[in-house]
Point group: C2
Chain length 559, copies 2
């Protein structure tokens, strides 16, 4: 049986538009001979719809659209394939959360059956227990008989709880086991599984292991596209009953894949570069492009400092929306090196983006004058300190936002994850902007990405930008390493603290200088207030700041 | 049996400090004759500890502190009352979430029994399913025999699922029913139930109804204090088996209440003003005081515009930390009225707070000069628009942050909920600041609060500030109502949209002008990006922006 995976890029909340995307993809799959079609999870609302789900009218509209869609595709293809579409479904039982996360089996013009997600991820960026009641896993509730075969229908997390694969299981039940026990011939899965580095290898390995263990083939349809901080990488796939990967849809792009489910011959297996810089670049480009487009922006704007971070963001922006839609602003101060300006202009020429240059010296003097009396009165004898550095950064933020307001271009922030972690950034200054392109990339990964971009795009980033020592240039001869440990050390500590949830003592026990570790952990906690007001950024790591990082502010440090 | 309610104000994460607070309160309760003592929910970590709970070392440290605390109180009071203390407890079953939310029954120097929370709120600001595995409700698992009585131990939400009280239940089980079935003589409850307007009346009504229905008395100990956006109002209470309120602890203050559980005579019932402005004022003062103290700030700073919002924030700040620790900054522009400056100075004199005045005219001209060429080049022919208004606001933000950085005073933002809802505020401008005192108060409630403060504190807010038409004064003769519907209308629409989750069509059906409703809902969606970067504010309403409002950004509007 030929399965069509409708790997669409939905717009969150755009119910009618998403149904039209599904319908167009269904038509393509029919033309390619599909006999059964799958969408991603919650395809009609896009994933994640978050608190839009709390509006009863929203879920009702989505569910009604599913009925209409079932009828529309039937009218045009009366003996066409069934369509399994992801959609929220009101819970009318009078108890529990108001919705189910459902896969609606559309056939012969009707929604014939609903299968409800049983395992609701409620960790990291996921809040499904906030909205959904879990589906029952009573025998047979998750299987559908169709054209002589029995299909076990599952939704995303439903596949991720195999007791042999995971040393620690999150849930007591396994919908795959239930489907197998109910006599399924094959598994279907509707997913909205976001990208993070190293996840695709894990995903393929796990899906293959489940198919092999159960002796069942699997059709897996994943969402693609950027929705706020999450990028979905698509890569829908078909696995044979022996666990072999038979076909895979594109990564980071819309696709319609039609492949034979009950076979063992590899069919469509496009190349897929899983190296970290390659994956990162594709994720950032897609995430930036989609955030801009889905928010209604055609143009972007950013400050170019002459450093590596803003250079990489400029290159990503140019790739995402075309260099003609990117404007880079140079805002030298008396502490900016000549090299910073020259390198920035060279980068902009290489990329083909517009530039503007605005010197901030006069505005710095204006703020000095405005504040002199108050500083003398309220903080007598206090010399220049971080205050003056922040003023510079906030002058730049104000200039950039003014250009954004006046021209309708979205301001991109250029800070990296290492800075954001330890607070080496100015709130309302360089943190100003609507979207933080590389805020989930530690500095060491920013360098790797710059080298990758240069390989891919003919050395657009001048070598001088890659070679110079990192500096905020907010005072004479400033270097990042005057204030911070070397980035190799800092990033290693941060990875243990953030991704492995290790406390300072646990990290130090692995051979790091305890004083350095303690200072880094203290800085991370101290910067929580800045991150609370940070722009959304693109998730790349296993654990990121943003909606998956929920720390208290007025709190004691971790032990 | 005399019950001691240890109504402490914990610091989130401060395990040793919180244990010391419990111990000191226990000593006071013992001195007052308590025979059994209760803390609030998760008293040793403070509530909500949020993602600190993901660090295994954190929960282990809290659980170890409970053992040590049990021993310490036993050593000093060897025949003293049992202590039931709220604490996270590692889940060692190898399946599910890593923790339980537990009530540890400490007696004779040991933790004798753990009762685990069964109902885990995962809605609004609550994320308990993110961290905790639910406790079992097997017969007898939640009861403890002590001094001839059997106590049904419950934790916060465990009480909030009575099938007769609630038309729609969230959970299939009821721990109170289970305790009654297991022969409990009385109910104990450890809570961290945050304040919102009208909640106390509901809480008392519901608790009384449960006691009456089950024929069981109840001792209810609630946390007090401000933790980030949440204020806990305390008001621990003892209810008789007939549902009568027998005793109540202080609202919005630490307290140790000792009262007889198995009686029917009212004992300690301090007056408690449940009017909205009175409750609001107490919540804002406590929330502001605690946020400052728990973040380590002694002083606060804010911009005084001459309007009602900043006047109210100044009054709250002066009440919270003393006028000598509050500095108000006047930053008139050429568009500021003379009255605004005079009214602000009069307010400051009445409150006894310091003021500084900095005219921003020269800086406005500085930005005009800096941007003139770029505006001409990038947006030819475009005249002054919202851009110039935002520049003014961001100049003020920069000045205030500079004073904050230089003096170590926390900057308070002064925006109200109506503005924040529709985006009538400047990101990185007047939205700058670490804590948003009135960001959950609609404008109409700000007026009510101002009148209440004047009644309470002898007319500190000049009448001219209350009487003038609201204006941002960002251009000549600007009035809020040029851009927005009258606040009575706006606030009514916002309440339906936010608190009742109604879509525009549903709101219009109640008699509002459909065009106005559509515009307001559009503005709310359009301001999402600003709120994503807003300072945390104090929750006052049933539903607030902040951690209980999780809307997507790049999304289509609600239907």
């Amino acid at each position: 049986m030929r399965i069509g995976l409708l790997q669409i890029n939905p717009m969150v909340g755009d119910i009618a538009g998403n149904a039209a995307r599904v319908e167009a993809a269904y038509d393509r799959a029919v033309a390619a001979g599909a006999e059964l079609c799958l969408t991603p999870e919650l395809a009609l609302t896009g994933y994640p719809p978050r608190d839009m789900l709390l509006y009863a009218g929203f879920a009702v509209a989505a569910r009604a659209e599913a009925d209409a869609l079932a009828l529309r595709v039937f009218k045009r293809h009366s003996s066409g394939p069934a369509l399994v579409v992801g959609c929220p479904e009101p819970n009318t039982s009078g108890q529990g959360k108001n919705l189910f996360n459902a896969a609606l089996w559309c056939q012969d013009g009707l929604v014939r059956k609903s299968v409800r997600k049983a395992l609701l991820p409620t960790y990291d960026v996921f809040d499904e227990a906030r909205y959904f009641e879990p589906g029952r896993t009573e025998p047979g509730s998750g299987v559908v008989d169709y054209r002589g075969r029995r299909f076990g229908v599952t939704i995303c997390e439903d596949l991720w709880n195999d007791k042999d694969y995971w040393p620690h299981r999150l849930y007591p039940v396994d919908p795959v086991e239930a489907a197998a026990a109910a006599g399924a011939d094959a598994l279907l899965n509707l997913s909205a599984s976001p990208f993070s580095l190293r996840k695709q290898a894990l995903r393929q390995d796990m899906l293959a292991a489940i198919c092999k263990k159960r002796g069942l083939p699997l059709a897996y349809c994943n969402q693609v596209g950027g929705n706020d901080e999450l990028v979905f990488d698509g890569r829908g796939a078909v696995f044979g009953a022996n666990g072999a990967l038979l076909a895979r849809a594109e990564g980071f792009a819309e696709d319609v894949l039609v492949a034979e489910l009950f076979g063992d011959e590899p069919q469509a297996l496009p190349a897929d570069d899983l190296s970290a810089p390659a994956e990162t670049f594709r994720a950032l480009v897609l995430g930036t492009r989609d955030y801009l487009a889905k928010c209604g922006f055609k143009k972007a704007l950013l400050g170019l400092s002459g450093g590596i971070d803003s250079a990489v963001v400029a290159a990503v922006a140019a790739e995402a929306i075309g260099p003609e839609n990117v404007c880079c602003v140079l805002m030298p101060s008396p502490w900016s090196s000549r090299g910073s300006v020259d390198d920035s202009l060279k980068l902009a020429r290489n990329l083909g983006v517009k530039t503007r240059t605005i010197s901030i010296g006069p505005l710095m003097r204006g703020f000095e004058d405005a504040l002199a009396d108050s500083f003398a009165e309220l903080a007598p004898g206090r010399g220049p300190d971080i205050t003056e550095e922040n003023i510079q950064s906030r002058i730049r933020g104000n200039l950039l936002m003014a250009l954004s307001n006046k021209t309708g271009a979205l301001l991109l922030t250029t800070g990296n994850k290492s800075e954001l972690a330890v607070g080496y950034c100015t709130i309302y200054g360089d943190m100003s902007g609507g979207f933080a392109v590389i805020s989930d990339l530690p500095k060491t990964q920013v360098y790797a990405l710059a080298r990758h971009i240069n390989l891919l795009r003919g050395g657009v980033i001048p070598q001088a930008i890659i070679d110079k020592a990192p500096s905020a240039e907010l005072r004479p001869d400033q270097k990042d390493e005057d204030s911070l440990p070397p980035y190799e050390v800092l990033d290693a500590i941060l990875a243990l603290h953030m991704e492995k949830q290790q406390t300072a003592a646990e990290i130090a026990a692995q051979g790091f200088d305890p004083a350095v570790v303690a200072r880094v952990c203290r800085l991370v906690k101290g910067a929580e207030f800045k991150r609370r007001q940070a722009a959304p950024g693109i998730k790349v790591a296993w654990r990121s700041f943003g909606s998956g990082w929920r720390m208290p502010l007025a709190a004691a440090p971790l032990p």
